[in-house]
Amino acid sequence: MSEQKIVTVPEIATIEEIKDEIVDVKTFYLRFDNKEIDGNFKIKSGQFIMCTVFGAGEFAVSLPPSPENDRFHITVRKIGKVTDALHDLEVGDKVGVRGPFGNGFPFEEIKGKNVIYVAGGIGLIPLRSSIVHVLQHRNEFGRILLLYGSRSPQDLMYQYMLEQWQKIEGFETFITVDNGTPEWKGNVGIITTLFNKVEIPVENTVAFVCGPPVMFNAVIKELMQRGIKDDMIISTLERHMKCGVGKCQHCAIGRTLVCTDGPVYTYRQIKTLGEQI
């Protein structure tokens, strides 16, 4: 059987493990009950799925696992009716999955380039897939940098991964928090303060940016000032979604639909869409 794309009827998946990340954010490791799907559910970095919480509804969520050699999981913040219900589930409970949908991050196109990841708060979740994938192919890229900021040390996503990443040679990680604690030894200040402390490559460089709108706009400004072109800045957008396949139109932005034309856009595209981030 070839690659699976589940469009109409959700496939049932079992929650194998639940991991507490930060306050209100949990990671759910999933496995499809249908063995044929389980082995053939191929994703691309940057794609998303529609996840059904039985009795509550369906929500769109980005996929943090790498397309290669990674456990299938989603990381979800408790923020609305359906995600609240998801957080109440236990190991062994079932959820429904449709997808994967969307275009995904470019991978082949950015080979040979320096890669900068700039993430704010839970903006690290959708970027995780690409980071892990790029690290799996470390020697096909130039410098790899991660600039990551969150409100406080308790709000840092994937802390166990961050610790691992910091040990990887050739992966330059810089972490900052807006408000430090007595125990915090690292940088304190908003994410843009990192830009003055890090030597940012400009030539032959692609930047992935993901975070809340305020942070996004500030980071874009810094990157552009340094001379990184708008088509070399890549982000993934979030929108209210219902169908995931370009029919309900809720995620329309400009002339595109985030579910089928996105969710990954270059900043050059975002500028022409004529809508807020």
């Binding site: 109409t8 049932i12 079992t14 079932k94 370009g246 309900c248 139109q249």
Partner: protein
């Protein structure tokens, strides 16, 4: 082509009624309005004016159950079943604008990368009898949007009122088989020419009857597509919008929908698909409250982008507006599509 006597037209409706659920225009005596809904061979009124609602609800119901599931939390067992409805339905006396609208929805739901299975089932066993408008109505502007006054395609049978009788044209194999059974007398080229004359006459009548509804769509398409329209114009349009969503509900081509899961006391849950409108504030609001499209003018220009832009036309293979004039009819503000086109045109000086 066949000729059908005026009194015999009901025969067609009665015959359809036997095999299909019959939908058509009827005059509601209480409201004094014409609606498009389930009728029978006696109540259907081919001569009724253009109905207040398009036939959209037949293929895309206002509220419909598209999926049913039951989750047994103790046994950790989930059963999911899609609910498809492919009951045979006949649309009788469809105006060309509404038929064009139906074709737009067809292309949108069936003609792209993903096929909407729920819609495909609705559409799978449908019989369509369209009706040529030999006289336009007050709010019509189908001549501006190339969708009338006579249908060119998409019907099984097309009727044209020639005066003492109707001309019936066949548009499909299904339509041919159906009408042959009646043994109506065949029509000649003379009748076809007469129809052509009536259509041409109908077009000239727009000038006198549909005085206020004109939309020079091609003139604004470029501007809407490229976005070279001043923010003040959208604000002016947005200020008149009451966010009632009526324009979307009566539009033959508006198909935005919302999805909700509703549970019953027995523990069954239904996934419901309901109509939605881009004019509502909650339309683009995400969990957590962030709404990228907060100001009303942002949302208003979305609707007209959908109807008038080239990018959206690629999905419909024509402009998204079919010139039925219902949005202008129902709008409590003054921003029906013809007016919006006028507002934008006023700003174009070259």
């Amino acid at each position: 082509m066949y000729l059908i006597k005026r009194d015999d037209i009901k025969k067609i409706a009665h015959a359809l009624e036997e095999k299909y659920t019959l939908y058509g225009p009827y005059l509601d005596e209480v409201y004094g309005q014409c609606f498009f809904d389930i009728v029978n061979g006696d109540t259907v009124n081919v001569n009724a004016p253009i109905p207040t609602n398009p036939p959209k609800q037949v293929v895309f119901p206002h509220l419909e159950k598209i999926m049913q599931y039951k989750y047994d939390k103790k046994a950790k067992k989930a059963d999911i079943a899609m609910l498809f409805d492919d009951a045979p339905r006949a649309l009788f006396g469809l105006r060309s604008c509404d038929l064009t609208g139906l074709q737009c929805i067809d292309r949108f739901f069936l003609g792209q990368e993903f096929v909407d299975e729920v819609y495909r089932h609705h559409r799978s066993r449908m019989f369509i009898v369209s009706n040529t408008c030999v006289v336009p109505f007050k709010q019509c502007f189908c001549v501006c949007t190339d969708s009338g006054p006579a249908a060119n395609e998409g019907y099984d049978i097309n009727l044209t009122d020639l005066g003492d009788s109707y001309l019936a044209e066949v548009g499909s194999e299904k339509g041919k088989a159906f009408i042959e059974a009646f043994h109506f007398p065949a029509a000649t080229d003379e009748h076809a020419k007469l129809k052509q004359k009536l259509v041409e006459k109908s077009i000239t009548m727009f000038e006198d009857i549909a005085v206020e509804s004109k939309a020079w769509v091609s003139r604004v398409m470029n501007r809407v597509t490229t976005g070279f329209i001043k923010e003040e114009i959208w604000e002016y349009i947005g200020n008149q919008c009451l966010e009632c969503g009526a324009c979307s509900y009566v539009c033959p081509t508006c198909t935005c929908f919302n999805i909700n899961d509703a549970s019953t006391v027995e523990g069954n849950t239904y996934r419901l698909r309901t109509w939605d409108s881009c004019s509502y504030e909650g339309y683009s609001r995400m969990a957590g409250g962030h709404n990228p499209r907060k100001p009303i003018e942002d949302r208003r220009n979305k609707r007209f982008f959908c109807k008038l832009s080239y990018s959206q036309s690629k999905k419909y293979l024509r402009p998204g507006c079919v010139g039925c004039g219902r949005c202008a009819w129902v709008c409590p503000g003054d921003i029906g599509l013809p007016n919006v086109v006028t507002y934008i045109r006023r700003e174009i000086h070259e």
